[in-house]
């Protein structure tokens, strides 16, 4: 029977150390329906997904699955029972190939040995739907983040789940891939698979979900069934943040007001597919977006300007003076500072404290004193925590205990004490919730306008360009193919320019 309840979580509790992650979590899923799970970072939505999938054991409450109470000891038991989780922090093994990953943990034998041919076939079959023409023989470590996410979804599907939990699967996908994922989800729903879907992009949730449950501070605060109630984003945001707040009117699309701050001419030494020939100017106080489809050289451009992409010849003028960027230190000394998108891999020392992370780049400066002036730095760090309103028990708390949005703020915080000239943001809001994202961007916009800093922004979500950019360059295969300005920056125009429709 359709719409039959397949899973019900009642009063689920979970603490980590002394921190309550989930105080009273209730969630209901029905066969063939997609339940959206919304909430700020640290609201407990990730925690409840992981409890259902057997990653964590709950401290209290009950989970009914297919009419019986279940206690999974590990994700494998849940997977065998038909509950598959698409992980946010991917569960792929980098040194194995795509097909080996897809069947990892559920390999079948043919005779004494593993059935590798069958596994290849299965992987190809599943991926054909999600991403036609995907090469299953590549190693996962060679894939882009978007491709990894696709493989992650394929891996969950390989187990033939009855309940599929997708924890922010779209964060690193480009729009076309999101479309094919949604198409695939709809097919699954028709087959009667229940799904739980989390995303920070509201429009995605509105589009794909049949109902949403909203979490705040470890509790579910509302459930909205889109069959009976209207889709009202303002109301949902209200539930998420806990305050009735109107969407900020798009930050004024100012014209490029100031003088030219940075003049960039980047040419690849060999013919590089990712970064070929790019030149542009960045003005003082300007927020310049770098858009386009994923993987067209935007991130490579960021790395080149940060001095860590060797394959290009850069001619760069900062305030009319030529500078050389060979190593990351060069960029830092000229106050060209990078906030990388993948904070867990490139931005932070996860096991170290907020303080260590915040002061670290200072230690590499020329003329840094032999003894670290701890007291002064602590003061600076505490101030940065205050300015960015980073939610942390203290500056000595390890960074990996913070939520994603706060982690990203720490990356920004470490540049605060520098005399910033150019800020390079490579998808800074990836996996950051709506509220924290707004905070972060508003702060950066303010910084840019007040201190006349040039900001170069790459984001995987077009909405961020629309809201915050003064000017937008569209990249395609390592070149700039279009420039959008002011009111031209809207979703349709961006998509059209990215796909080179015009």
């Amino acid at each position: 029977m359709k719409n039959e309840i397949i899973l019900e979580a009642k009063g689920v509790k979970k603490c980590f150390g002394g921190v309550v992650a989930l105080s009273n979590g209730n969630l209901r899923c029905r066969k063939g329906r997609i339940t959206g799970l919304l909430g700020a970072n640290g609201s407990g939505k990730s925690t409840i997904s992981k409890i259902i999938a057997g990653v964590y054991k709950p401290d209290g409450g009950e989970i009914h699955y297919n009419g019986r109470i279940v206690h999974y000891r590990n994700p494998h038991e849940a997977r065998q029972d038909g509950i598959a989780l698409v992980f946010q922090n991917l569960s792929l093994v980098p040194d194995l190939t795509v097909w080996q990953n897809v069947v990892l943990g559920i390999e079948r034998n043919r005779g004494l040995f593993l059935d590798d041919e069958g596994a290849r076939l299965l992987a190809r079959e599943i991926l054909e739907e999600l991403y036609p023409g995907f090469d299953v023989e590549r190693k996962v470590s060679e894939l882009s983040p978007g491709e990894m996410q696709v493989v992650e979804v394929a891996k969950a599907l390989a187990a033939n789940p009855q309940l599929l939990i997708l924890d922010e699967p779209t964060a690193s996908l480009e729009q076309a891939q999101v479309r094919s994922l949604f198409a695939c989800m709809r097919t699954l729903a028709q087959k009667g698979v229940a799904m739980i879907f989390t995303s920070h992009r509201l429009w995605e949730v509105m589009e794909i979900c049949d109902e949403v449950t909203i979490f705040r501070n470890g509790e579910d605060v509302a459930t909205i069934d889109f069959d009976t109630e209207e889709k009202d984003p303002e109301k949902i945001i209200g539930y998420i943040t806990g305050e009735q707040r109107k969407t900020v009117v798009a930050v004024n699309h100012g014209k490029a007001s100031g003088d030219v701050l940075l003049r960039v001419k980047v040419k690849s030494k060999t013919r590089d597919k990712f970064l070929d020939d790019v030149s542009f100017e960045l003005h003082e106080g300007e927020i310049l977006g770098i858009g386009g489809l994923a993987g067209q050289g935007q991130e490579e451009l960021m790395y080149a300007l940060a001095g860590s992409y060797p394959n290009v010849r850069c001619e760069i003028e900062l305030k009319g003076k030529k500078i050389r960027l060979h190593r990351p230190q060069d960029a830092i000394r000229h106050s060209i500072l990078l906030v990388p998108g993948d904070r867990q891999r490139e931005g932070l020392f996860l096991d170290h404290s907020v303080y260590d992370n915040a002061i670290f780049p200072r230690l590499g400066l020329r003329g840094h004193p032999l003894w670290i002036p701890e007291r002064e730095y602590r003061r600076m760090c505490e101030e940065a925590v205050r300015i960015l309103s980073i939610k942390t028990p203290g500056v000595d708390a390890p960074v990996n205990t913070l939520s994603g949005g706060n982690q990203q703020k720490v990356v920004v915080a470490r540049w605060l004490s520098f005399d910033v000239q150019v800020l390079l943001l490579a998808d800074p809001a990836k996996g950051v919730d709506v509220g924290a994202k707004r905070d972060l961007y508003e702060y950066i916009v303010k910084l840019a306008r007040e201190k006349k800093i040039g900001v170069l922004l790459y984001a995987s979500d077009n909405e961020e360009f629309v809201e915050y950019c003064d000017r937008l360059l569209i990249m395609y295969e390592g070149q700039i193919v279009a420039t959008l300005q002011g009111d031209e920056i809207n979703d349709d125009a961006i998509t059209a320019a990215s796909m080179r429709v015009r």
Binding site: L104, E107, L112, P310
Partner: protein, 336 residues
Amino acid sequence: MDRVTKEKGFPLTRLFFKPESSSMFILIVMLIINIVLQKNFFETKSIVRNINAFAPLILLAMGQAIVIVSGGLDLSSGAALSLFTCVLTTVMKQNEPITGFYALLVTFAIALMVGIVNGIGIGYLRIPPVIVTFATSYIWLGIALFLRPTPGGETVGWFRIFYRARSVEGIPALIRTMDNFIPPALILVLIGCLLWFVVSRTRTGRYVYAVGSNMESAYVSGIDTAKTQMLACVMNAVFIFLAALFFVAQNQSGDARMGGPLTIKSIAAVVVGGISLFGGRGSIYFALVGAMILELVSKIIFFADIPNAYQTLVSGIIVIVAIAGPAYVMFNKEKR
């Protein structure tokens, strides 16, 4: 970014910069130098002698490689080797051929135990592998010294089948002739290779790489990571057991201190074979290549008439140049 570095350079240079191919290249260079220095390299006798000299390190290195790929490290392999030789020579009584079988059984059981103990420490108790195996290396050494405070012990006559089959009395003529071309040491190495060949085509083989590559991911994929690491340790112990058979057959005695220096050498061989110390990456078979390179270096030094006092120094320099050279060039190419 990985894609970018991968697509750079000509196909040939790319091939050279793969860790495996550069190990292969070093091996070929070493072999050529050796052939030039040693006039009778291709005589059957000298080939057999080489195989006998290389086999123990090859076996140890392959076992070590399995543990390292699974994300562990075994600092006790040399001590375990000594222990096995002592157990073998203690159980065997010279005039009772049947004790040879007992010795094999008892030692194999102990080998499994050794693997399980290391595996419990690394896999289940989650103690850092360096600490676990450093501690167990003293335990193995202690037991070995208890059994055999000084080198010695007895072996049965037929035990020489693991070293020189033709010297065993009453051996069939076929094996006797075969022994002239295929020394038992080579067969032991082939048994080791076959063992890994079989395992690598089962779940365990796949999981060893998965666990070493990313334990968290492997765990949430439903892999029993602790069991996998333990199985890696047990396989390692089996490889050490094979090496112990050869040693006892060759020396006709057990020695509690003979294995010590081989531990670090086996780890070095693994690294030279292009296997990542961080786990998950590299081919187990290339531990064999790494072991051969290290042994060839010592041989080259011997034939190059370098004064005794400088031999270790020179061998160290050769290893550094051979390994670090390509790595350095590669680093400069990939610097970003």
